[in-house]
């Protein structure tokens, strides 16, 4: 019978994978188990075993069963059963089923590994690339820092002035405090506290002390930290600390107490809330005895009690007469001599916990907590009432208290208590208290603050200098007017260049270009302004004109000054990351505008000025961005709109035509028609003016109608009606085909209007490149490696001729054939080294370039395009000549080689795209295109009128293209 130790050791070993077992041997687990011969040693060996398991889990040295492996294990049981029953057939099949599941399990394992690895790498690469792009761009770096600095400035401004305002002190009287808090503020923010928290805590401190200096800053800082970590309102914490300080406790005492509280393992927030709530008799008794108050609160909490609940009993301050009366009454009621003198004495000394213990022991007659609870439960109603009167707590609350105490005693005497004791470093504990998300956001906040601090001195100098202007409203208005005037002038010039419609877009922002009628100025009431109010304080309904907030003011008010500054940063980010050319232009406009506006904002003065400037500038900047959009982009937009407009019209027209034709076919009259000619005449008359008007339908007539030798109709009655039906159906089919042809022909014209042979060729090339990129060769990394080898071999043969010894290449080919790809990678690298040395140029890069060139040719690119390509030049040996995993030996990595080729093809695609844009620009700006568009529009109009009376098509000029400006309305 194996011992418990053996069983547990076996269990551990079973959970280990191969690596884990090696690890166990390395750590001499068997020897140490064997050496643990007595209980003490076996107990500690158990801890070693548990920790070993934890570490093995972390290092992935334990077996992890997936669902397939688990299912396979379950089948194992059935195999045993089959063996036992000697059912050979079942056993065989079950073994194979188990194998199937095991294979699936392995596949699943590999798949999850790859997914995990790929996910991590992808995320790392994505983030890395984004950040690298951001950091490499100096404009981004500068503007980002500027935005963060402005944010930091606002933050500090809020902290300083907000604190002064909240505390009711003059700003200059809080400077010492501000300086001190400014130093610790980043740390506090990083800790998860908000600027509001700090302001509130500062105000609470000011209320308590009546002043704000360095020491109060320390109190605030400490309190906010503890408050944040343990979920206590920052001002609660400050109140407690401030009161304690004012009651004579030193900061050291308070720090020591805080350490004790944290180290005790009790709910920290409850202790401080209890302290704040101390009142009534408790406060009276403990007045001036801060140390005792604090320790009593803590001790009470250690027992799960609130000091206030237990301290304010009747026996605390009652008269001696009352004391003796209740003592007598209790003795009678409980049938036992009850002494309340001692507990009352203790209470009056402020030793509430001891007093309570004495009281409970005296009333219940036992010191055992569970027994006390039991006895209170068993009390009669009268006894319970008396008990409540004496202790000041209800019986049920007391029972709850006692059980909580029991629970806490057990809890705090175990591992928790030990852990808490070991953790003496408060900071560490506080940090641990914050969850991961807090920590992450703290790291980013800290980073943002650090960056923000870089430009802070400059911003502060500017802001301080111009803040004085803000204090003079007259001057401010003057500057505002002037700034808007400058902007108007600037836009006036732009409008003169571009046309009035551009001006109209931005005119509303600045209240119109040239004055105009009575309307709300856009910046009206930006700062709250002079609202007309009624006596009750509500906005006066009769003064709507004055109370209206201008659109610009609304915008800025909603955005908020900080948001305006930050949105410049957002534009910068967009600028750096967006792929869409148009978006990039807009963001560029926004950034330039934002920076310009920020500059203008300095003239407005103060942070508000900065914000207004940035906001206005950004708004304007976006318009500028649009203005500077490439001609090609505008034309492309126009063309796309024209094309889709025409397609839409054609689709509509085709549908209408089909209906119309169907109707006409239905209405063709055959009554009275006797001969072939008469039928054809009727059909012709019915289809006049439609696609089928000039179609030769005699064959169709002959198919359905039969004529006698005299040329007259041979069918009559039902036969004749059936023939008409069949004929009309056939006509309908013909009509559908004809309309399809018409639509295709018209659409072709719309497409071809902006097309050329070169454009078609470029389109083909792009498709070709896409096909090659997604093709079989690049889908197989080993095939790419084989191609590389062949190219390298060819280069050597061409250059060295007969002197070339191709042994390495032959070996490489053999390794590839034998699927020994890793060895093949190393072998071809050796050949590449030799080639580069002998030929004295980079043969590896050339071979890879040749592979790519062939693919590009296959895609339809011309040799000229390939020769001048950056894509081919982008292929460099260093990108794919690396070692695999931890191997020291390098090879030509097939995966990296394939990715290099892919990248090159991607660059080639971009090159084709660029050429395409150039060609489109040429087409769109040519007279030929304009003429073709005119022709097309006319053609559609004309043909439209022909069929449906021109109703739909007569609007095409208005709805589609304004020929003068080339811009669709």
């Amino acid at each position: 019978m194996p011992s418990k130790q053996e069983k547990e050791a076996q269990e551990l070993n079973d959970s280990l994978n191969k690596g884990g077992k090696e690890f166990a041997r390395l750590m001499r687990m068997a020897q140490m188990e064997a050496a643990a011969t007595n209980k003490t040693l076996q107990d500690s060996q158990k801890i070693v075993r548990d920790k070993f398991k934890t570490l093995a889990d972390t290092l992935k040295l334990t077996k992890k069963e997936n669902e397939f492996q688990k299912a396979a294990r379950d089948i194992g049981k059935k195999i045993l059963h089959a063996e036992k029953n000697k059912n050979e057939y079942n056993r065989k099949i079950l073994i194979n089923q188990q194998k199937q599941l095991q294979i699936m399990g392995k596949l699943d394992d590999v798949a999850s590994d790859i997914t995990e690895q790929f996910g991590m790498q992808a995320a790392a690469i994505k983030n890395g690339v984004k950040q690298a792009r951001l950091l490499l761009n100096p404009i981004v770096a500068l503007s980002g820092a500027l935005a963060l600095s402005v944010k930091r400035f606002f933050e500090l401004e809020k902290l300083g002035k907000g604190t002064a305002r909240e505390s009711g002190l003059l700003e200059r009287n809080t400077r010492e405090f501000q300086l001190a808090i400014k130093d610790t503020q980043p740390e506090l923010i990083a800790f998860g506290a908000s600027v509001d928290d700090i302001s509130k805590a500062s105000a609470a401190s000011a209320n308590n002390f009546g002043f704000l200096n360095k020491e109060t800053a320390d109190i605030v800082s400490q309190s906010v930290k503890i408050g944040t970590a343990f979920g206590i309102q920052a001002d609660t914490m400050v109140n407690v600390v401030s009161e304690a300080r004012l009651l004579g406790a030193s900061m050291e005492d308070i720090n020591q107490f805080t350490n004790d509280v944290i180290g005790s393992g009790v709910q920290v927030n409850k202790v401080f809330e209890d302290l704040k709530a101390v009142q009534g008799d408790t406060a009276l008794i403990l007045a001036g005895q801060t140390d005792q108050l604090m320790s009593q609160v803590l001790e009470a909490r250690k027992l799960g009690l609130n000091l206030n609940d237990i301290a304010n009993s009747t026996s605390a301050t009652g008269s001696f007469q009352e004391l003796f009366t209740s003592q007598m009454k209790a003795s009678v009621l409980f049938g036992r001599s009850i002494n309340l003198v001692e507990s009352t004495r203790l209470r009056r000394q402020g030793k509430f916990l001891e007093a309570r213990k004495k009281e409970l022991a005296s009333i219940t007659g036992t010191t055992d907590l569970s027994q006390q609870a039991l006895r209170i439960e068993e009390m009669s109603v009268e006894q319970k009432k008396e008990f409540e009167r004496i202790t000041g707590r209800t019986a049920s609350d007391t029972i709850k208290d006692l059980y909580r105490q029991l629970f806490l005693q057990g809890k705090l005497s175990g591992q928790t208590a030990l852990d808490v004791k070991n953790e003496i470093e408060r900071e560490k504990l506080l940090q641990r208290q914050l969850n991961l998300q807090d920590k992450l956001s703290a790291i980013f906040s800290k980073l943002a603050i650090k960056i923000g601090e870089q430009l802070l001195p400059q911003i502060t100098t500017f802001a301080n200098k111009f803040e004085d202007i803000l204090d003079e409203p007259g001057k401010l208005n003057e500057i505002l007017d002037k700034t808007v005037g400058y902007l108007k002038t600037a836009f006036g010039i732009l409008v003169a260049i571009k046309g009035i419609s551009f001006g109209a877009n931005i005119a509303s922002l600045f209240g119109g270009m040239g004055g105009g009628g009575a309307k709300t100025p856009v910046m009206q009431n930006l700062f709250g302004g002079s609202f007309k109010k009624t006596a009750s304080g509500a906005l006066d309904a009769r003064a709507t004109r004055i109370n209206t907030i201008g659109s610009g003011a609304k915008f800025l008010r909603v955005l908020g000054p900080a948001a305006a500054a930050i949105s410049v940063g957002a534009d910068v980010f967009k600028l750096a990351t967006t792929k869409d050319a148009k978006e990039r232009k807009k963001a560029l406009g926004g950034t330039i505008g934002g920076a310009l506006g920020g500059g203008l904002g300095f003239f407005l003065g103060g942070p508000v000025g900065l914000a207004i400037g940035a906001g206005l500038g950004q708004f304007a900047g976006k318009a500028i961005g649009k203005f500077f959009a490439d001609e090609v982009e505008s034309k492309q937009d126009t063309l796309n709109r024209v094309k889709s407009g025409i397609d839409f019209k054609i689709a509509n027209a085709a549908f209408d035509r089909e209906i119309e034709l169907g109707q006409k076919i239905k209405e063709i009259q055959f009554k009275g028609a006797q001969t072939r000619e008469e039928i054809l005449d009727n059909v012709f008359a019915g289809l006049k003016g439609t696609e089928l008007a000039n179609t030769d339908l005699s064959g169709l007539v002959d198919t359905f109608f039969q004529f006698g030798e005299d040329g007259k109709l041979a069918q009559s009655g039902d036969e004749f009606l059936k023939a008409i039906d069949g004929f009309k159906n056939a006509l309908n089919d013909q009509a559908t085909e004809a309309i399809k042809d018409w639509a295709a022909a018209t659409k072709l014209t719309a497409e071809s209007a902006a097309s050329s042979d070169l454009l078609k060729k470029l389109d083909r090339q792009k498709k070709g490149l896409q096909t090659v990129s997604e093709g079989a060769l690049l889908g197989n990394e080993n095939a790419v490696l084989a191609q590389f080898g062949t190219e390298l071999n060819k280069i050597l043969q061409d250059r060295l001729g007969n002197t070339y010894d191709n042994t390495d290449f032959v070996q490489f080919e053999k390794l590839m054939r034998d699927s020994k790809f890793v060895e093949a990678e190393k072998k071809i690298k050796i050949l590449e080294d030799k080639a580069s040395k002998e030929l004295e140029f980079d043969a590896g890069s050339l071979a890879a370039q040749n592979v790519t060139k062939k693919l590009a040719l296959q895609a339809g690119l011309t040799p000229e395009q390939i020769r001048s390509s950056e894509g081919i030049a982008s292929i460099e040996k260093k990108d794919f000549r690396n070692s695999r995993g931890l191997s020291f030996e390098a090879g030509i990595r097939s995966d990296q080689l394939t990715s290099s080729v892919r990248n090159a093809l991607e660059i080639l695609t971009q090159q084709v795209d660029r050429e395409r844009v150039a060609e489109e620009t040429r087409i769109l700006s040519s007279d030929e295109f304009s003429n073709k568009m005119d022709e097309l529009i006319n053609a559609v109009q004309t043909s439209g009128r022909l069929t449906i009376g021109g109703k739909e098509f007569s609007q095409i000029n208005k709805g589609l293209v304004d020929k003068n400006s080339g811009v669709s309305s």
Partner: protein, 73 residues
């Protein structure tokens, strides 16, 4: 900066080398990634070898040892 998965692979490679008695190789593997890590692994490796020597010197009941060696095989 290594991802957790890469870190794991590295530690596994280090342990594998140590269990084969290739302490220097283990240190080299770690040092290749990071010099400081190499120093740490050097310290671990020497602790492991010292610990193994100490354990091997212990007087253990051979019967009991055989039993546990079978368990951890």
């Amino acid at each position: 900066m290594l991802t957790p998965l890469q870190e794991n692979k590295l530690v596994q490679a280090v342990l594998k080398a140590v269990s084969k008695g290739q302490g220097k190789r283990a240190i080299a593997i770690a040092a290749k990634k990071d010099k400081k890590l190499g120093m740490k692994v050097k310290d671990i490796v020497s602790s492991i070898f010292q610990f193994q020597r100490d354990v091997d010197k212990l007087d253990i009941d051979p019967k009991r040892l055989k039993k546990f060696q079978d368990i951890y095989s």
